[in-house]
């Protein structure tokens, strides 16, 4: 006779707890993000593209408007970009890589080009936008 009311009280106190835990669960499920982001530091370009060096110590990556890439005028696949830039640098330590983005090229290509230049061991990476690249 005395057992039953005690057990019922015990159960009643559990329900709000479960409610709150569910609410917390839903809150964290909706607010958390699992996206892993990284960061890439880039020096901002000079407003005038003519300030970029153009002598023999420069490897140019061209981002063409149709999405293709060229290293010093030779078409290159995106997967082989780092090797092509590395070949252009050729082991020298004082080489600059200039990335020229034609209008129509995309950010993804731009980011890939910067990373390829950094991975190939360029001392300096310059960027500029141009309306149309004339080989």
């Amino acid at each position: 006779m005395f057992d039953e009311p005690a057990r019922r009280r015990n159960m009643a106190s559990l329900t709000p707890l479960i409610d709150v835990v569910f609410l917390l669960l839903i809150f964290f499920m909706l607010t958390t993000s699992f996206l892993k982001t990284q960061s890439l530091s880039v020096v901002t370009p000079a407003p005038n593209a003519s300030e970029l060096p153009t002598d023999a110590r420069v490897v140019e990556i061209w981002l063409m408007g149709d999405g293709t890439l060229r290293v010093d005028g030779t078409p290159v696949e995106r997967a082989n970009l780092t090797e092509a830039v590395k070949a252009g640098i050729g082991g020298r330590k004082d080489m600059t890589v200039t990335i020229l983005a034609e209008s129509g090229s995309r950010t993804q290509a731009f980011v890939s080009a910067i990373e390829a230049a950094r991975q190939a061991g360029a001392r300096d990476v310059g960027t500029a936008r141009v309306e149309k690249i004339t080989p």
Binding site: E4, R7, R8, M11, L14, L17, I18, V21, F22, L24, L25, F28, M29, T31, T32, S33, F34, L35, K36, T37, Q38, S39, L40, S41, V42, V43, T44, P45, A46, P47, L63, A101, S103, G104, S105, R106, T107, Q108, A109, F110, V111, S112, I114, E115, R118, Q119, T127, A128, R129
Partner: protein, 134 residues
């Protein structure tokens, strides 16, 4: 008869315990595994990258939408005329640490226009946010 009356509530109580356990586990999982970040004004599909300079908690984040528009805080501006607005926006956030979240499909021209404007305003280096490559 009294025994039959007592039985059902007890069984219900007992079947609830594994459920609570699982919910608690899920809760702890989301607490530990997730990171809470404030949502951006526009959805940006980040470009895939391989390098990581491990810059974190940038005070100023600029968004470049897929159509080329630049978001400074809560207003979109064409990158060609972004300079004056940038000066005002960065005045209280500082020039040293500026992050750019550009959509992978955004025109590189828009990103470069933004970076040129940043240089004019006095920012020497920006951090482009990328997603870890697959």
């Amino acid at each position: 008869m009294t025994e039959l009356d007592q039985d059902p509530p007890r069984r219900q109580f007992e079947t609830l315990i594994p459920l609570i356990n699982v919910v608690f586990l899920l809760l702890i999982f989301f607490l530990l595994a997730g990171t809470m970040t404030p949502a951006d004004n526009v959805a940006v599909k980040l470009p895939i990258g391989a390098l990581n300079d491990s810059e974190r908690d940038m005070p100023a984040t600029l968004l470049v939408e897929a159509d080329g528009f630049v978001w400074l805080g809560d207003r979109p501006i064409d990158p060609k005329i972004v300079e004056q607005a940038l000066k005002e926006y960065l005045a209280d956030k500082g020039m040293e640490r500026v992050a750019v979240k550009a959509d992978a499909e955004a025109p590189a021209e828009a990103l470069l226009l933004l970076m040129e404007a940043l240089r004019k305003v006095g920012v020497q280096q920006v951090t482009i946010v990328t997603e870890r490559g697959r």
